[in-house]
């Protein structure tokens, strides 16, 4: 049985329909008009226990709204959500014991209190025993260096420290299902690396994870499955490996020739490949279909006939695939 199941999940918001500027604002005050906006449009999602799922999409695609529906913050306009068999909005309290939530753009720390006080307040709220609390704090410290800023007031923390503290808040009760909405937003590379390592540990321990992020490195390093949404609907749902295998159908070789590269001439000589000029005059990029030619075949023919000074292989990244999915170039 899936730990999380959403069927035909839909959320429609009512937004003011007004013209821009002062005139529009005054007119709206007198004659109020609204239009409906569908942020999440019939999403079906099923997550098994222990899965780590990346939930990605362009800005405004409905990622955060979906997370809010799944956590019980919002009530669906249509469709159903079940987390461990419960409706998270109706059975909010019972659901809260089993889930952990982090919204990267907001904090749940008490602003004028030391981090430790916030964690203790949450400990009592969740009914965590002293022994469990101590053990978890020790573990968070090992992985997130929490003790470094435990006595500091929340308002004095750097963004990276704040995010680590918020992560500890979200996990203090050892939730079975964790939702992280952009946990690495605005962080520098070293803090990102540390957070990703922590999330990998979490997944290895069997916690179910739903992660939204614009940073595709988060996704590749932490998640096995990816759900891409656009305009409130699922554009792709499957493993990252399948996404790559299915959509990455071309590979490229960068050749560095002895003299300047004549791209039209090369394209005529090797019509099976796509040729484009590189950054330097002697550089040329050869793109070939990986399901028609092996890399060895391509390299064999090119090196035999062109004797390049140097060459390098480049694999298209998941980032390219998702960018193309967003742009509507690829279909499900």
């Amino acid at each position: 049985m899936p730990i999380l199941e959403a069927q035909a999940l839909t959320k429609t918001f009512r937004r003011p329909d007004k013209d821009s500027g002062f005139k529009g604002a005054v007119r709206h005050l007198m004659q109020r008009k609204y239009k409906n906006y569908t942020a999440v449009d019939g999403i079906d999602l099923s997550i098994e226990a222990g899965e780590s799922v990346a939930y990605v999409g362009p800005n405004g695609a409905g990622k955060s709204t979906t997370v809010k529906l799944l956590t019980g913050i919002l009530r669906p306009s249509e469709g159903t959500v079940r987390v461990m068999g419960r409706d998270p909005h109706v059975e909010r309290i019972a659901n809260a014991h089993d889930i952990g939530v982090l919204f990267g753009q907001r904090t749940q720390l008490w602003w004028d209190l030391p981090v430790e006080e916030s964690l203790k307040l949450l400990k009592h709220m969740y009914g965590v025993s002293d022994a469990d609390y101590k053990r978890r704090i020790e573990r968070f410290d090992e992985l997130l260096d929490l003790n470094e800023f435990m006595p500091a007031l929340a308002r004095t923390l750097s963004l990276g420290q704040r995010m680590r503290a918020d992560l500890a808040c979200a996990l203090i009760h050892d939730p079975k299902m964790v939702y992280l909405d952009e946990p690495t937003i605005g962080l520098d590379i070293s803090v990102k690396d540390r957070l990703r390592a922590f999330l990998r540990e979490l997944v290895n321990d069997g916690t179910t994870l739903l992660l939204t992020s614009h940073d595709l490195a988060d996704i590749e390093e932490v998640c096995e499955r990816i759900v891409v949404i656009d305009k409130g609907a699922v554009a792709y749902d499957g493993s990252i490996e399948r996404l790559k295998a299915h959509y990455i159908t071309t590979k490229a070789v960068n050749l560095y020739l002895e003299g300047a590269a004549n791209v039209p001439e090369l394209a005529e000589k090797f019509p099976d490949y796509e040729w484009t000029a590189g950054e330097a005059p002697s550089e040329v990029v050869v793109t070939y279909e990986s399901n028609r030619f092996t890399t060895a075949e391509v390299l064999g023919s090119l090196t035999a006939q062109l004797s390049p000074r140097d060459l390098s292989l480049s694999e298209p990244s998941i980032e390219d695939v998702i960018r193309r999915l967003y742009a509507g170039e690829l279909t499900k």
Binding site: T71, G72, I93, H97, W111, L113, E117, Y126, G127, D132
Partner: protein
């Protein structure tokens, strides 16, 4: 990580109180981070009450009574209203932040925690003007009580009246602030309106107002049970039977607040879609 906790399905009342007090004391610790704010706000509450005292003293220097109510009885009215408002600010000031929280999406995290949202919001702020309001409100009450010659026997009624007044005041404020779940504004205009009306009308005997106003204050928005009814009973202006209306007003206003807040959370649509 092994887990030894047993998740509860409903939140036991004792746990709710524990969460409330822990959060409230956490706010106290936050407040002492800003000592200047603390002293300015506490003084503001005190100054406001001293002005009320002065107003009544000047009024009764010129008139013998207001609709049969004397100086000390009027002090009791003002004092009890101040204590009720002060207790609201001291113990439940967070309710006033409901509108701002709705607009900014700050209810989100509170929904994901295993505690009643209304408790988390209510205990999220302390209005420090309340110290002056409560201290000087009690002082006005004591002075009025002695001056009106009410006696010691009625003190338990007075104490109970203060507790009920604080609960009714806080519950009505909460219900009116919860309207912001729908009307989407930072300021809790309906609650402000109620406070304004109380400040202007409920420091006077209800008998000087038209019947429609009296009915509204007694039965529609039962602000009369905060200060007028208990004071009128202990000073002999109303029959003791009216005391029975006070717990009814407590229960009614608390149920109203809880119900409106619950409906508000159903309508909550967060921020940033």
């Amino acid at each position: 990580m092994a887990d030894t906790q047993t998740p509860a399905i409903a939140v036991p009342v004792r746990h709710v109180f524990a969460i409330y007090w822990r959060t409230w004391f956490a706010q106290i610790r936050s407040i002492v981070e800003y000592p200047a704010d603390l002293w300015v706000m506490a003084s503001a509450g005190a100054v406001w009450n001293i002005l009320q005292f002065a107003f009544l003293a000047v009024l009764f220097a010129n008139v013998p009574d207001v609709a049969g109510w004397g100086y000390h009885e009027m002090l009791l009215l003002s004092g009890l209203l101040s204590v009720a408002g002060g207790c609201n600010a001291l113990f439940w000031d967070g309710a006033w932040s409901t509108g701002a929280m709705v607009i900014k999406g700050d209810i989100d995290y509170r929904i994901t925690r295993p505690a009643p949202v209304i408790i988390q919001v209510g205990s999220s702020h302390i209005g420090m003007q309340s110290i002056g309001e409560v201290v000087f409100g009690v002082a006005m009450m004591v002075y009025g009580w002695i001056g009106a010659g009410i006696g010691f026997a009625a003190i338990p009624i007075g104490v109970l009246a203060i507790a009920c007044a604080a609960v009714i005041q806080s519950a009505l404020v909460t219900a009116l602030c919860a309207v912001n779940f729908w009307i989407k504004g930072q300021a809790s205009i309906f609650a402000f309106l109620m406070i304004e009306l109380q400040g202007n009308a409920m420091k006077m005997p209800l008998g000087i107002f038209p019947i429609a106003v009296r009915l509204v204050a007694m039965f529609i928005v039962p602000v009369a049970f905060i200060n007028f009814v208990p004071v009128a009973v202990v000073t002999g202006h109303m029959s003791a039977w009216w005391l029975a209306g006070i717990p009814a007003a407590v229960v009614g206003s608390v149920l109203l607040a809880a119900g409106v807040y619950r409906l508000g959370l159903r309508a909550y649509d967060s921020a940033g879609h």
